[in-house]
């Protein structure tokens, strides 16, 4: 950690601060510039409150040298993490296509969509049973029944399944779910993340609408600190002033995250844009940007979908998209 002292700081004040820092078990390297004095703090600085140090009268600014994330830090894990669920692999060059309806509605719907996306080459089936809805008056999902229907579709198609959890108390219901999704609104629900760290499930964490990439990594860290290393990160758009799309898909996050962490990164263009006809170009862009996977909403009858029909592809559109994604991945691999 680096602390920069303000000009005109008296020697006495400096010594007082240095004394305090040393009492916290740190070594202090002092570097005098023309106007500023810089303190290099060596040792375990994890217990130092950066904002407090920064607020001291004589301190101009403070900078952490090491990142606060450890378990998910590529510096300590140079090799890509590969996560396997069922026959599907993600990360380390393995690309996973995750597809399915926003919400599970009934047996025929989920099985029909599952078969269609499998036929199109999907690696996993997504489907919402517990739905986080902005309004308490909107359809909230089939809940436990939805998960059962999803498991039937898994049995029939062999596809591993991905579904969102909203409540720690539902964990038992997710026993046979392959990938547990933490939604954007729960990206910093730390109690939920901590509990998921005690499971051995693959956990897919969506970036919150206002979360920095560093915060997303700290959320992964909550899961990993509990001993569960199977974390997949998901970019799904951040909130900006632009209103033509529901969110602004931040595709550069793929490159940044690949530098910072060894965890796989998938992109969800359906929720990012909120508009079915933008899903294809953004899915292809995500593949070109180097994403490890895609998460696409597919519905056999979007116009009658109970949720997010506006952003769902029809099976035939998805089929065509999946082929184009493969071509793009070949194009960038050469």
């Amino acid at each position: 950690m680096i602390a920069i002292l303000k000009p005109n700081t008296s020697m006495e004040q400096q010594e007082h601060l240095i004394h305090w820092l040393k009492s916290q078990g740190l070594m202090v390297h002092i570097s005098h510039g023309d106007k500023y004095t810089v303190l290099g703090l060596v040792g375990d600085t994890s217990h130092i409150d950066v904002e407090l140090l920064q607020s001291l009268d004589i301190v101009d600014s403070v900078k952490r040298v090491s990142e606060p994330f450890k378990q998910c830090n590529r510096k300590f894990h140079p090799d890509d993490m590969v996560i396997q669920v069922g026959d599907a692999k993600i990360g380390g060059g393995n690309f996973a296509m995750i597809a399915g309806p926003c919400s599970v509605e009934n047996h025929d719907q989920i099985v029909e969509v599952a078969q269609a996306v499998k036929f199109a080459g999907a690696d996993m089936l997504r489907g919402g049973a517990f739905k986080p809805r902005t309004s308490p008056y909107d359809f909230q999902g089939l809940k436990a029944e939805g998960l059962e229907l999803l498991l039937e579709a898994k049995k029939i198609t062999g596809l591993p399944i991905v579904s969102e959890i909203m409540n720690v108390n539902h964990l038992d219901l997710f026993e046979h779910v392959d990938v547990i999704q933490v939604g954007a609104r729960n990206c910093q629900n730390f109690d939920l993340l901590r509990e998921l760290g005690r499971t051995n499930k693959a956990i897919l964490i969506k970036r919150g609408m206002a979360n920095t990439l560093k915060e997303l990594l700290m959320s992964a860290e909550y899961v990993m600190a509990g001993g569960n290393e199977n974390v997949i990160l998901c970019e799904r758009g951040i909130r900006t002033f632009e209103t033509y799309t529901r969110n602004t898909l931040d595709l550069s996050s793929v490159s940044v995250l690949h530098e910072l962490t060894h965890l796989p990164v998938v992109v969800d263009p359906s929720h990012a844009t909120g508009v079915a006809r933008y899903v294809r170009p953004m899915a292809l862009a995500a593949a070109a940007a180097g994403a490890d996977g895609l998460m696409i909403e597919v519905h056999n009858d979007p116009i009658h979908a109970k949720c997010d029909g506006a952003q769902s592809l029809k099976p035939a559109e998805f089929h065509e998209l999946a082929q184009a994604v493969r071509r793009v991945r070949e194009a960038i691999a050469q």
Copy 2:
């Protein structure tokens, strides 16, 4: 609800859509403009998926006429809601000063701060027992023990207490807490909100960093839809590109919320700015903007605080601030 059709829509397409809308139980008023045809949909439109309607080929755009929030809508509740906890009232002209440390650390600390803020005129004591921290390696609060210490401070001073809940399963521990706070990161933790709607506690909901005022109201609606009308809204800053302050305090939210809802609105300048020396000007500004209360972090020893020391006032500073707030309130009341 209004649906605007694209120019060059054929009569057949229009009739097809109108037929479908009528089959949803709506009456349809048709208005032909120079280029556009406008459909006015009358009846219960709450089940219509706006985004889906908007995504249809022949639809240019859709606009909801009535707001999606009902219980918290001032249109149906013109009089200010007044919430009473202990001797303190908030709303309808009653101003509540809520003060205390970011986190409860030990008996002496919380009692000392409680007595100091009471002496300065605070109406409620705040103190965190369960702390949502970005890093799993940071101090997470004293938890149950923290709540007990807070209750002791309540007993000694008589001040009603405010503390944050992070997990539905902790609800029993909050039996004697007067106001349960939902933190910014849980502003859209709908399962938590729904459960709190089944209690009769006063619930203080902080606006999430990326939440619009409409979403904040929908979160209040989750609580109220369960039968609990005792909701206090809290503006605590939103996330923007500016980095000199931790968040950007959106004080115009006070006026906007007062128009849209009858619920009381408090402002938290401590978390908004993250810097103690900005708390006073922002607290005075919030009072001048017409807030129904303030939530201020006060610590007897900020430099040794376990959390957020950088943004805490000392008791003497808070005392002086409380007096200035009173003067500002008198100034705007004339």
Copy 3:
């Protein structure tokens, strides 16, 4: 235009408003809902101040039906605009690769880079002569001399050139520049745009850091209203809370703009990310998203560049990228 009246509006108030609207030359269609009355205003509403109408006591909200942009609106110009400069075409399926250094530094530098990017397949040469720098103390470009050097590179390579204008008074200097660029910071410098509308040059307008797509189109409209239809739009990232990249590249803007307008859309991944190693993935993503062109910073010696060396590719990297872009374009075209 649609105006929605508040519930409980008296007939007298309604009639007063309707009378006034008619006096503005509009026809008014009235539609009574359960709670709300909706007025459909037909005729030339371009002189009606939406915000003023919205601020009236009895008005709940107002919605424009038709977009405020006309000349650049695809509704009135369904076919893609193709812009030709020299041998290069852009739009309507023609992809243009624009490359070159951030700023022109000397004869050898610009000629060397020009030859390298031409060899790699670039269609146009970019180079800054007038540089908008945040600090008055930074290098501001070679100005007129820079343009002369750029013209020499054009003569040697035959590449059409693109350069930024910052001041209406410099227009004469740009006589032989093929594409005049309006930088992000001047995206709403309306006097500059208006003057450029009186030329017959191709004008490339970069989206401002805080500009909506609608505002970008209104800026294009300023140029086109003057009679100059040769406008190219450029997405170069918007400002958000994320700090790992300089800006957040909004690639969904390509799809949205292609819907709204017939003008070509290029993407500048160099300024968007500010980091050379993110340029390649974002360039490929932009191509996959359907952009009509790319604008890439290339420098023969980035480490000694006078400006933005951090985001410049070396010629060999650009060469490899240009090939990959071609492969991606083939992949999405099938």
Copy 4:
């Protein structure tokens, strides 16, 4: 400047970098931590490209120690700047109330408003002659004629006048204008700022919708670097995702700017909110936050205003507001 090297950097690489830094005339202090090596660069670092240094393979991150703004930096000018125009003073405890219509429309309108705001206690008259409008089809101001009318109102009332410039070439027209305003959209129109630095007029610079406070200061620096120290800064709201108000007024900017610079800071609640009924609470809040002045739109007939009528106060409302502002200023001064 501080440069932090990545772990595992070889001694040879370090020495290569240090050699290069020394060749730039800098002294280099080396501090070895557990994992990281930190270089403290002493000397004139203003010519070092931070982003370039940061992009080097062996560099983890770079931090500037000293701010890039000098002329407007309070560190070098500890006393508040007081700017006097006519009888009005602003800064250093002097509060200036600036009021008037969005745009000058005709002789009677501007004179009537001028007399009304003078009677209410305004210190300066504002009025737009050149109007930056998003649409080329909207009223663009009376231009030269508008300035003449404004000068007549100045002659009649004795109030100094404030008006916006959009184009360097109009400078002659502003000879008798007391304060020249640079609008939000021109906040980084560096050529305009540079020219204004060559005048001795007071220059009021509005913060751009996406500009950080640091960038606003750099824009002030452009003016001051030319020798003109008479700069007033103006907060008028930044662009965020919230849509109930036109912009989000960032009142903490007042405190932050007062720390960083000695220049006066005024607040414009009219453009920030865009809604007349929010102007009063935000004006009072700005006064409570310690602003050095306010800029308020006042129109004698808002419903017929040619521009921004929705956000204009009537003279009687302004009169009442001006009194309340005085009371708030007294309340915070005690």
